[in-house]
């Protein structure tokens, strides 16, 4: 426990610059969106308190906006507003709207009618009644709404990191991807503290009488504008090219850290979720992204992979891994599985992924079309010699491979198959294999090395730059440790890769990461 705390403290100290800038970004996002929500929501609330027949419609629309899941709302924003602070602020603004409108409406309609009548009867104008009677009396309720909106916004603002708007979400989601609890806590604790801090501050404001509050109301826009300026200026500056990296990539040695150390790459970087990254690159919101080399979106958005000429990304060559006893029990299985070896290169796999992910074809059809085109398809023999259990992880590429293996086994041997596809992750798949619940599944050399074997850093440095060395190492170690055999690689390498728009890369003459570095250094 003590060690955990200490290392969290160390992490915070190491990353204090980043933490500070993320916290300020977070506050900026929250306050700017909140200010806009107040500027819009308050008059709207007053308006529907005057025209009550409109209140149902307005509150209904604001309520529907509130029910849209935050990530979906951020997703909607990308085609309209791209990525970065603007769409995040708009999304946060929409979330903050309902509590502010509703509480303004409730507060104003809740003012004692006799007080309003007295104000009217004393000869106050409608404007005076609003500012001297209704707003002051409704203020506690309105402030309660602003408090709610603030706390919601502090929370939702963590998701802004998905669309490269920064904030403490960068640490939180980076930490989740990297399974680094210090990183998660370094983001989550300040976010929670911010929520508490804002809530306490506003509760103090709520208790102060309205007249004293007036001075604060003058000060508030100044503070918020100051924040807005601080917040918006840095995003306006930056280098010629902008990179959008996933939080996981940002924190990995075989990711951004390696790029900086081995290539000396200095590029203006934003953090972005991989679900929107490819599209953002396509829409020229960002120029360089950290993708997976066989992702179907590579083709869908016409991106090109930069060659990793200094080999910082470990190879992730795919190959079926089979329990040794299954190979003995089912003779001929190994030959059937090896039929695919060397037949699928990166661009073929990308194409196949593109067909399932973007064209929404079934993995079965994609697998069959491929086998037929390569003259490997044979109709099922409907044999009775035994049942081979095929496993796969829970993403498209693995489904396609599992289908291909099913067809190859049933066409070339007398075995039938049963599929246990969609197993949650590497750990689950591998446990299923070693516990004799499945007989094989497609795995990647890099995953086997880094996730399952986890060799010491020295060993890693020796082998990760070379795909054969990596393959040989995992093959030996798996056999020794788990009695699991790596069959021949299928051919493609689904590794981390830097990608750019093909057109831009061609125009700038950038083919490798070193080219990119030179380009950036020149400009």
């Amino acid at each position: 426990m003590n060690q955990q705390q200490q290392s969290l403290w160390q992490f915070v100290q190491q990353q204090s610059d980043k933490l500070l800038s993320q916290t300020l970004e977070h506050i900026g996002l929250t306050l700017v969106s909140l200010l806009i929500a107040i500027i819009v929501g308050l008059p709207l609330g007053i308006f529907i308190a005057r025209k009550k027949q409109l209140s149902g419609t307005v509150l209904g629309i604001a309520g529907v906006l509130q029910t849209i899941p935050s990530i979906a709302l951020l997703g909607f924003m990308i085609p309209l507003l791209g990525i970065g602070a603007t769409p995040a602020i708009v999304a946060l603004f929409l979330y903050a709207l309902l509590p502010i409108i509703r509480n303004t409406y409730t507060g104003i309609t809740g003012v004692e009618p006799s007080v309003k009548e007295a104000a009217l009867a004393m000869g106050m104008s409608a404007r005076q009644i609003l500012f001297k009677v209704e707003l002051p009396l409704a203020m506690p309720v309105i402030l309660a709404g602003i408090r709610t909106a603030t706390v919601i916004n502090v929370g939702v603002a963590t998701l802004a990191s998905y669309i490269a708007a920064g904030g403490l979400g960068e640490f939180i989601f980076g930490g989740i991807s990297l399974n680094n609890s210090n990183m998660i806590l370094a983001g989550a604790i300040p976010a929670a503290l911010l929520a508490i801090l804002f809530d306490v501050l506003l509760s103090v404001v709520q208790r102060v009488s309205f007249k004293k509050l007036k001075y604060a109301l003058f000060a508030l826009p100044v503070i918020i504008v100051a924040f807005a300026v601080y917040y918006l200026v840095p995003s306006a500056s930056g280098g010629k090219l902008t990179a959008g990296f996933t939080p996981e990539f940002m924190g990995r040695q075989d990711g951004n850290l390696g790029l900086q150390q081995k290539y000396g790459l200095k590029i203006h970087t934003t953090v972005i979720n991989d679900a929107v990254m490819y599209k953002a690159a396509f829409e020229k919101q960002i120029d360089v992204i950290s993708g997976y080399s066989t992702d179907g979106r590579l083709k869908a958005f016409n991106l090109t992979v930069l060659d990793d000429d200094k080999k910082i990304f470990p190879p992730y060559y795919a190959a079926p891994i089979v329990r040794a006893d299954a190979l003995q029990k089912y003779p001929g299985l190994e030959d059937a599985l090896n039929l695919l070896a060397g037949h699928i290169n990166d661009s073929v796999m990308t194409e196949l992924n593109y067909r399932t992910d973007q064209l929404h074809q079934t993995p079965e059809r994609v697998a069959k079309d491929f086998l037929v085109a390569n003259n490997m398809f044979k109709p099922s023999r409907k044999g009775k010699a035994g049942v081979i259990r095929i496993g796969s992880k829970v993403f498209g590429e693995q489904y396609i491979l599992a289908e291909m293996y099913r067809m190859l086994i049933e066409g070339n041997t007398n075995y039938t198959t049963s599929a246990k596809t969609g197993l949650g992750g590497t750990k689950i798949c591998f446990d299923a294999l070693t516990n004799n619940q499945i007989d094989f599944y497609p795995e990647y050399t890099g995953t086997g090395l880094l996730v399952l074997l986890q060799p010491p850093a020295v060993k890693l440095q020796q082998i990760t730059s070379n795909k054969e060395k990596t393959y040989n190492y995992v093959q030996q170690e798996f056999n020794k440790k788990y009695s699991v055999k790596w069959l021949k690689p299928i051919g493609f390498n689904n590794a981390y890769a830097l990608m750019m728009r093909r057109q831009q890369a061609d125009e700038l003459g950038i083919k490798t990461i070193s080219d990119l570095k030179h380009f950036l250094d020149r400009n």
Binding site: E112, S114, V115, E117, A118, A119, L120, A121, M122, G123, M124, S125, Q128, V133, P136, L137, S209, F210
Partner: protein, 320 residues
């Protein structure tokens, strides 16, 4: 001072106020009396344009009230509400000075006026910095009254001003209200459903029903010359007490016996007071009360029996 002509207010199919006309002379105290929904409050609120009439015209001080903006009109008409309508977020001082603020009085004038009024209304200056929620019901109502009187508006409208108070406080404030010199000069229109209050405070009463004025006159006229059964029945329940309140000592002065030997001391009761007031004093051991004619300064010493005999005599002459 106030002239109302053919005033109507229609809500959908309902005629809340149905073609009424009346006048209130300067310094008069007109009570609009009736049950809930008779249109009395609607009538009152049309006088300062809190409600705009469907038809008819109103003049205050000879001027059509639609001639100026409603805000400006209202700043010159005092208004007292049943639930006092004090601003809960303003201190007593701030509440009282709202209208002077709107009229842009200077500070000195405002301060002097505040202190003058507080004294008259028996309010301590300590209250000035308090908020309405920190005051008792009676104090709140007094502050509400002070707010309405602050700018010496010649016309005062009161909507059930004592309705929210308990009996004892109400009686006390009504007493103060009658004695307040500020109010003697004012033209007052007050709404109430309380018959006693009407007879206690009004020198003219308009009984309303279904949006119309059934009868309008002095308390004595309503009691002794009711124009129809509605008025008769309306006043029947508390008739005796009302009559005692409606008849002043001056009305029965001639039938009270002259005094022979007067005590040297004691404050005599003015004959502008009602018989009811005199009877109130004849409680417990007090067997006789000294009265002094407001006109001739003649003093008489009378007993309860003598008062009642005079009252009977007066009643007979009226109904004869």
């Amino acid at each position: 001072m106030i002239r109302v002509q053919n005033l109507s207010k229609q809500y959908g199919q309902v005629m809340a106020v149905d073609n009424i006309s009346f006048e209130v002379a300067e310094g008069d105290n007109l009570i609009l009396l009736g049950t809930s929904g008779c249109g009395k409050t609607t009538t009152l609120k049309m006088l300062n344009r809190l409600i705009e009439p469907t038809a008819g015209k109103i003049w205050i001080g000879g001027e059509d009230i639609t001639a100026q903006k409603p805000e400006l009109l209202r700043r010159n008409i005092g208004y007292v509400l049943q639930n006092n309508g004090l601003f809960p977020h303003y201190t007593v001082a701030e509440n009282i000075t709202i209208v002077p603020g709107l009229l842009k009085w200077d500070k000195e004038k405002t301060r002097n006026r505040i202190h003058e009024l507080l004294q008259k209304l028996h309010l301590s200056t300590d209250l000035l910095t308090k908020y309405p929620s920190q005051l008792s019901g009676g104090q709140q109502q007094r502050v509400g009254l002070a707010r309405a009187l602050m700018t010496n508006a010649p016309v005062l409208l009161m909507d059930e001003p004592f309705g929210a108070l308990d009996n004892i406080t109400r009686t006390k404030i009504q007493e103060e209200f009658k004695e307040l010199d500020e109010l003697q000069r004012k033209t007052i229109v007050m709404v109430t459903h309380d018959v006693h209050e009407a007879f206690e405070l009004g020198n003219r009463i308009a009984i309303m029903d279904k949006g119309q004025i059934v009868q309008m006159g002095t308390p004595a006229q309503l009691l002794f010359k009711p124009e129809n059964d509605f008025v008769r029945n309306f006043l029947k329940a508390q008739r005796l007490q009302l009559e005692l309140k409606a008849i002043t000592l001056h009305d029965v002065w001639y039938s009270l016996p002259s005094a022979h030997d007067l005590p040297d001391s004691g404050l005599p009761l003015n004959t502008n007071e009602s018989i009811w007031q005199a009877i109130q004093k004849l409680k417990g051991d007090v067997k006789q009360i000294m009265l002094k004619s407001a006109q001739t300064n003649e003093v008489k010493l009378v007993t309860f029996e003598q008062l009642m005999a005079a009252y009977n005599h007066y009643q007979n002459t009226l109904t004869a």
